[in-house]
């Protein structure tokens, strides 16, 4: 137990880094994912192809390789960004694919009849998207998006392999010095559990508030 007291600052610091990684990554992945879904749903074949190519390529590459390309590849073309940013960019690029797919199926779940009704009222295509499609699909996307957020939290552990000392890396180091694996990894598990449960609970609250009764 003294491990907790001895390494309190390190452990809290690691947890904080994990939280920072996730909290910065999620909105970026979301925005990028929505843009991708717009590409993939847009009527211009070239843009649709770009969206599809992005998703197919990035989703099928291991995230760690993606992050490694950013960490070690970008400096080759003269762009050296901090490791923390590299991890955020890599995770965002990767999870944007899942956001994109979630948004797409969310949009598909909106009733065609309601879209026609909005068009029949004289709403322009963009207005139909904003007032009917987006709000309704967002609501059906709350839980899938929460799952993506949770996966981002867990995926942020990859930062440990790329010089970002987040929760997993910290716990690994503490264990390296103290050889208390059970305690150390129970602590990490607890840390992740607190974060993911918070996300799950918040998603539940949001979903209940915005649920569309059918």
């Amino acid at each position: 137990m003294s491990v907790i007291a001895d390494y309190q600052d390190e452990l809290l610091g690691g947890m904080l880094t994990t939280i920072q990684l996730s909290i910065v990554t999620f909105p970026l992945a979301f925005v990028l994912g929505v843009l991708l879904s717009v590409l993939r749903l847009c009527p211009v074949p070239l843009l649709r192809a770009v969206g599809t190519a992005y998703v197919e390529v990035v989703r099928n590459a291991p995230v760690l390789v993606l992050i490694a390309v950013i960490v070690f590849g970008l400096p080759e073309v003269g762009l050296t960004i901090p490791l923390f940013t590299c991890v955020v960019v890599g995770l965002s690029m990767y999870f944007a694919c899942y956001v994109c797919e979630t948004v797409r199926s969310g949009i598909r779940s909106v009733s065609v009849g309601e879209i026609e009704a909005a068009r029949a009222l004289g709403l322009a295509t963009s207005a139909v998207f904003r007032t009917v499609v987006l709000p309704q699909s967002l609501r059906s996307m709350v839980q899938p998006l929460a799952t993506i957020f949770i996966n981002i939290v867990l995926g942020s552990a990859l930062g440990a392999a790329m010089g970002v000392h987040e929760l997993t890396g910290t716990v690994r180091s503490v264990n390296l010095l103290e050889a208390q694996p059970i305690l150390c990894f129970a602590l990490a598990g607890l840390g992740y559990l607190v974060m993911t449960l918070t996300i799950g609970h918040t998603a539940g609250v949001i979903e209940r508030r915005v649920r569309v009764v059918r």
């Binding site: 009704a117 009222l121 207005a127 009917v132 569309v212 009764v213």
Partner: protein, 248 residues
């Protein structure tokens, strides 16, 4: 009925779904304040005709004009035209995430740029007119089918359209709710609203229609006053159809 130009004019309209010829040389004009009821067997192209008038379905040849203006292609002009052509669907299609009041104010606020207060005032008047003033704050799913369809009619009326299209507005309703919707439609007809109604309700057709159109196989086979049509149909197909629906 008057010598003013027709409000809705179709001329030689053809429409295909792939190789399926759904509308064949349809020519039709609907005057201001006229109520036209379209009947015909399933698959005869009634919905397609109705939907092509506000270009929810594009047509392959021929022309459609509303109030003298040919239907524009996709874009702002088309949106503006649609604002003048109200539509009521079989399955209501109320916006599930908005209250009844917001369903009715959406068009006026977003399309007509009416101030919200004014739009709400108008919406409440309309909801009162269709008999569901007390439901304004509820979500669509909490209303009965008849109430939802009346809300949908109010939503269409809120745009102050020149013409209202109805595509089987009572087909999805339980029998006991059909009349509350038909009553609203009858009173609209009496007030001079121009209406094109696809329906199987022959009573409504007799009561409210100025003209009845009989469609089969994508063609308008007969057109006449309700009396002429119901008492003395000209074609075998119409007689056959009527005998089936009337002795049902």
């Amino acid at each position: 009925m008057t010598d003013r130009p027709p409000l809705v004019a179709l001329d030689g309209v053809n429409k295909y779904f792939g190789s399926l010829h759904v509308l064949r040389d349809v020519t039709l004009s609907v005057g201001r304040g006229e109520v036209v009821v379209i009947i015909g067997p399933s698959g005869s192209g009634k919905s397609t005709l109705c939907r092509s008038i506000n270009r929810l379905e594009p047509i392959d040849s021929g022309t459609i004009a509303v109030d003298g203006v040919p239907l524009p292609a996709e874009g702002r002009a088309l949106a503006a035209l649609r604002a003048d052509v109200g539509m009521v669907f079989q399955s209501f299609n109320l916006f599930a995430h908005k209250t009844i009041l917001d369903n009715v104010t959406l068009g006026p606020v977003k399309v007509r740029k009416l101030p919200r207060r004014e739009a709400e005032q108008r919406a409440r008047t309309l909801l009162d007119r269709v008999g569901i003033a007390d439901q304004a704050g509820k979500m669509p799913a909490h209303l009965s089918g008849g109430q939802q369809q009346r809300a949908a009619i109010a939503r269409a009326l809120a745009m102050e359209p020149k013409v209202l299209l109805f595509d089987e507005p009572t087909s999805a309703l339980d029998p006991e709710m059909i009349n509350e919707v038909l009553d609203v439609m009858t009173s609209l007809a009496r007030d001079g609203m121009t209406m094109i109604v696809v329906t199987h309700e022959m009573g409504f057709a007799r009561r409210a229609a100025d003209r009845v159109l009989f469609m089969d196989g994508g063609r308008v086979l007969e057109a006449g006053s309700p009396q002429e049509f119901f008492d003395n149909p000209q074609t075998d197909r119409a007689r056959d159809f009527l005998s089936r629906v009337l002795h049902h």
